[in-house]
């Protein structure tokens, strides 16, 4: 009796323990399932995009750059564009089937060019429109540690065709079962028994989803049991629609480097460079087919496998009546085409990403960036970026060829900004620009050499009652006592003294002694104030060599200061990001165009004149006058002591570009600003060929002829004369006696125009009389 009671007792205890155990297991699985489906599954890394290119009727556009942009956006040349992502270019005319972006509808458009202008924009129906927008290019993301990446879709973005293909191939009874299909399991069971191996799975879509939550692909009975419980729980907790959408967003479709491609949304972008809605049936069939083995059926690595698998799926669609025999025959012979992986791979443009990350981390937590599905729209111009990356490599190669192996370790940095609004268009931080690492555009703090001079000269020109472009500066020996027994004695690059020189010439010839003397005369307070107004935030050291560039700055800090000059005295903080939207496309944060007038336009006008002379007759000479006028260029070379740093900063068209070359260990180079940095500047600018830019016209500026040598009044027919701008009322008044004859105003061009006008007027008068 006691024995029977104890057995019954033990049995009851074991039953309770078993039930508790089962409940505990179910509870653990349930928690895992719900946490995945409610949370982690929807972990979407922030995506980073380039700017969207917009072209307007009558607007300026460089056709070659436009075609490059189409290539980078994975548009394909086709003689008869009929699908999104195709175009045809012939004789200044492009027929372009846009993929569609935000308000820009997908469809066929016709763009006609005339020179570098857009002559007309038309829709397919012939109606003229004034603006079209290309989609921005994905350039990377902020991926979590497991590197899962996806583009989260909602039902409006999922084509019906995909659902039909998916159910036909993966789970025909999806809407009838409760997570597990006994029919499928028994079919798989008998197949596997026959083969004495596990050859076929009987998993439903719900089971496959459950399986993906446990990060393991082993096919043991225990695993199957867990998946079955998970599948039942998923079906119990979620609707069929929710399950299917989760599956569509979660499926694994391959790897791109370390990045794991999840979901059909990202799969469509990754393999076809298009949105899921724009895919053709054969493309959808391939994606669905790839689920069986993303690596085995990867169309890039194993195109034949992919083709066969796609055709198998097409066969299923024909069998189930989803496509006709005729369509099947058409699609069956289509080749498998994917876009070039380099344009849609993981994070590119490392130096630019550093800038983006810095700006993002001021406003977002790391976790938000890795999981909230933010879209970060940046200012990067992929054409400029590609050109800058390419040209820094080519320029270094040329320099190594010219100067020998000692330049093999040469490093460099370059930044391109839009002058007006401070948008950063391109940046490189190394002569090996595609690799992540030390970003010299931000972190190389180097003596800026003569790049400091425009700041000093601007400080003088602001005091326009005392200084103008022809004010005489003394470029003779200078000795400045700096301690009891020592003094500082600056030298010119050519080791010569140049006596009295006009202010503008001292700048474009980059005379050190004249500049040092000017700075000392102005004083630290005055020059320091100008530095601050230009946007230089760091503390200014108070030693005289500051005025010829012993001051250290990063390329990023230097270009910020030059942006203020290039934009006529308006400071705008440099920005890499334009706008950030949340997962639903609503604006989460924007980085608006900020502007502050820091200088009156007239002194800036004068300094820009001197900076243009750098190109006409100074250290950056070499361009034709017509090119100088077209781009309205201006700039400054910089070389630090012992040629340890080679700098150039200059503007052309709407863009300001800064270049630095040097060694990381600070050893001397054989380069000056002209022979090193300027070379890259020119290669880049010639390549992008910016649109023309017009000079600002200021009513308070008057031009008069002056002599380049002594800066005094001259005339158009005198040798060495130059038309020089002055703030009205500050022009030199008296012409030296030696130039009275050639500088006579009667010989002036403007006088001859007036003379001709008078003649016409008098002729008219006599006619009326």
């Amino acid at each position: 009796m006691n024995f029977r009671i104890s057995i019954k007792y033990i049995f009851s205890i074991l039953t309770i323990v078993f039930v508790i155990f089962i409940l505990a297991v179910v509870s653990v699985i349930d928690r895992r399932v719900t946490s995945k489906l409610d949370g982690v599954l929807w972990t979407v890394p922030a995506k980073i995009y380039s700017r969207s290119l917009e072209i307007a009727e009558g607007g300026k556009v460089n056709i070659n750059n436009f075609l490059k942009e189409l290539e980078m956006l994975s548009y394909e040349e086709s003689s008869n564009p009929q699908n999104p992502g195709q175009f045809h270019y012939k004789e200044n005319n492009i027929r372009l089937f846009l993929k569609g972006y935000k308000k820009q509808e997908s469809g066929l458009y016709e763009i006609s060019f005339e020179g570098n202008k857009v002559k007309s924009l038309k829709r397919q129906d012939g109606i003229r429109i004034d603006l079209i927008s290309l989609e921005p290019m994905p350039i990377g993301g902020m991926y979590p540690s497991h590197m899962e990446d996806r583009l989260l879709l909602d039902w409006t973005q999922v084509p019906d065709r995909l659902v039909k293909i998916l159910l036909a191939v993966e789970d025909q009874g999806f809407f009838d079962h409760y997570g597990i299909s006994l029919k499928s399991i028994s079919r798989a069971f008998f197949t596997n028994i026959k083969a004495a191996n596990i050859e076929q799975g009987g998993s439903t879509i719900t089971q496959q989803l459950a399986k993906s939550f446990f990060f393991s692909s082993e096919q043991t009975l225990k695993r199957k049991a867990v998946e079955a419980i998970a599948a039942l729980l998923i079906e119990f907790r979620y609707s069929k629609q929710e399950i299917l959408l989760a599956y569509i967003n979660d499926v694994h479709l391959g790897q791109s480097g370390k990045r794991s491609i999840h979901g059909f949304g990202l799969g469509a972008q990754h393999f076809f460079g298009s949105s899921l809605k724009n895919l053709e049936t054969d493309q959808l069939a391939l994606l669905v087919g790839m689920l069986k083995g993303p690596s085995l059926y990867n169309p890039r690595r194993n195109p034949m496998n992919a083709l066969n698998r796609r055709n198998t799926v097409l066969g299923v669609l024909r069998r189930d009546g989803l496509i006709t025999e005729e369509v099947y025959m058409d699609l069956n012979i289509k080749p498998v085409k994917t876009i070039k992986p380099s344009f849609r791979s993981e994070t590119k443009y490392p130096a630019f990403h550093d800038l983006v990350r810095i700006e993002l981390r001021n406003n977002f937590e790391e976790e938000e960036l890795r999981s909230e599905g933010l879209s970060v729209y940046t200012n990067i111009d992929p054409i400029f970026q590609a050109s800058l990356e390419n040209n820094i490599v080519l320029t270094k190669e040329k320099l190594v060829k010219k100067y020998g192996k000692k330049l093999e370790e040469l490093e460099g940095a370059a930044i391109v900004v839009d002058i007006q609004n401070g948008e950063i268009k391109a940046v490189v931080g190394s002569t090996n620009p595609s690799q992540f690492g030390f970003n010299r555009s931000l972190n190389a703090i180097r003596p800026i050499g003569s790049l400091v001079k425009p700041f000093v000269y601007l400080s003088a020109l602001e005091k326009y009652q005392d200084f103008n472009l022809t004010t005489t500066l003394d470029d003779s020996h200078l000795s400045v006592p700096i301690s009891n027994n020592s003094s500082w004695e600056p030298n010119n690059f050519d080791k010569k003294y140049h006596g009295n020189v006009p202010l503008h010439k001292a700048l474009w010839q980059s005379y050190n002694i004249a500049s040092a003397r000017l700075g000392i005369g102005l004083g630290f307070d005055s020059v320091g104030k100008t530095f601050k107004s230009l946007g230089i935030k760091k503390k200014i050291p108070q030693y005289p060599s500051l005025y010829i560039g012993s001051f250290e700055m990063s390329p990023f800090e230097v270009i910020q200061a030059y942006q203020t000059i290039a934009s006529d005295g308006f400071y705008s903080p440099l920005r890499s990001i334009r706008d950030i939207t949340d997962i639903e496309g609503k604006s989460a944060l924007s980085y608006p165009y900020k502007i502050e007038q820091r200088f009156r336009p007239e002194p800036i006008y004068l300094i820009k004149f001197a900076m243009q002379q750098t190109f006409i007759r100074g250290t950056a000479r070499g361009y034709k006058q017509s090119t100088i006028d077209k781009w309205n260029v201006g700039g400054k070379t910089g070389t630090s002591d012992d040629q340890r740093d080679s700098w150039f900063v200059g503007y052309a068209g709407d863009y300001l570009v800064l270049v630095w070359f040097g060694f990381d260990d600070n050893r001397p180079t054989p380069l000056t600003g002209r022979t090193g940095a300027l070379e890259l500047w020119k290669n880049f600018i010639n390549d992008i060929n910016p649109n023309s830019s017009t000079k600002t016209i200021l009513p308070r500026i008057n031009y008069v002829w002056t002599d380049i040598g002594d800066g005094k009044l001259s005339g158009p027919k005198c040798k060495n004369s130059i038309l020089t701008p002055f703030i009205i009322g500050t022009e030199p008044k008296n012409i030296p006696s030696v130039r009275r004859r050639c500088g006579s105003m009667l010989e002036d061009e403007s006088s001859s125009v007036i003379k001709k006008l008078k003649q016409v007027f008098e002729k008219k008068k006599s006619e009326t009389n």
């Binding site: 917009e54 307007a56 009727e57 009558g58 607007g59 004034d130 603006l131 839009d418 007006q420 609004n421 006529d568 308006f570 334009r578 706008d579 604006s587 924007s590 608006p592 165009y593 900020k594 502007i595 502050e596 007038q597 336009p601 709407d654 017009t694 600002t696 016209i697 200021l698």
Partner: protein
């Protein structure tokens, strides 16, 4: 009624601004007094933000593509969505850098956002454009604080 008054004042301002640049007549003492009274009315009017906004909304862009963007921006602005209005204006500037109509709008929007210095800077930037009309110049000058 208020609208009619505004129209009259507007016409009077145009008359005065155009006369100011061409007239060489020496005003009589009576005229001077009337002009003083009138100038102070103009001053008062230009201090009226609603009036300024309504005038700016009437100023069109020189290019149709920019006008299309301005229409979108104005739609947001009228509804009080300054952020979206601003982002459309920035879009317009990327396509065409020298549109005084855009700088006028940016000046006023910054003022509504309480950013007076920036408002003045946008106006000063707009004044550097070569083909600004006298009326636009007058309006831009309103935002510039000395």
């Amino acid at each position: 009624m208020r609208q009619i008054n505004l129209i009259f004042l507007y016409l009077a301002i145009i008359l005065v601004t155009s006369c100011a640049s061409t007239s060489k007549q020496v005003p009589t003492p009576t005229n001077t007094m009337e002009l003083d009274v009138f100038s102070s009315s103009v001053d008062q009017l230009l201090k009226n933000k609603d009036f300024l906004k309504s005038e700016i909304l009437k100023i069109n862009a020189s290019k149709p593509s920019i006008q299309r963007i301005l229409n979108e921006s104005d739609g947001f602005w009228v509804k009080g969505n300054l952020k979206r209005a601003n982002s459309e204006l920035e879009r317009a500037l990327r396509i065409s850098k020298n549109e005084s109509s855009v700088f006028l709008r940016l000046s006023h929007i910054r003022l509504e956002q309480g950013l007076e210095v920036e408002s003045g800077s946008f106006a000063a930037r707009g004044l550097l454009i070569s083909n600004v009309s006298s009326w636009e110049r007058l309006l831009l000058n309103v935002y510039i604080k000395d």
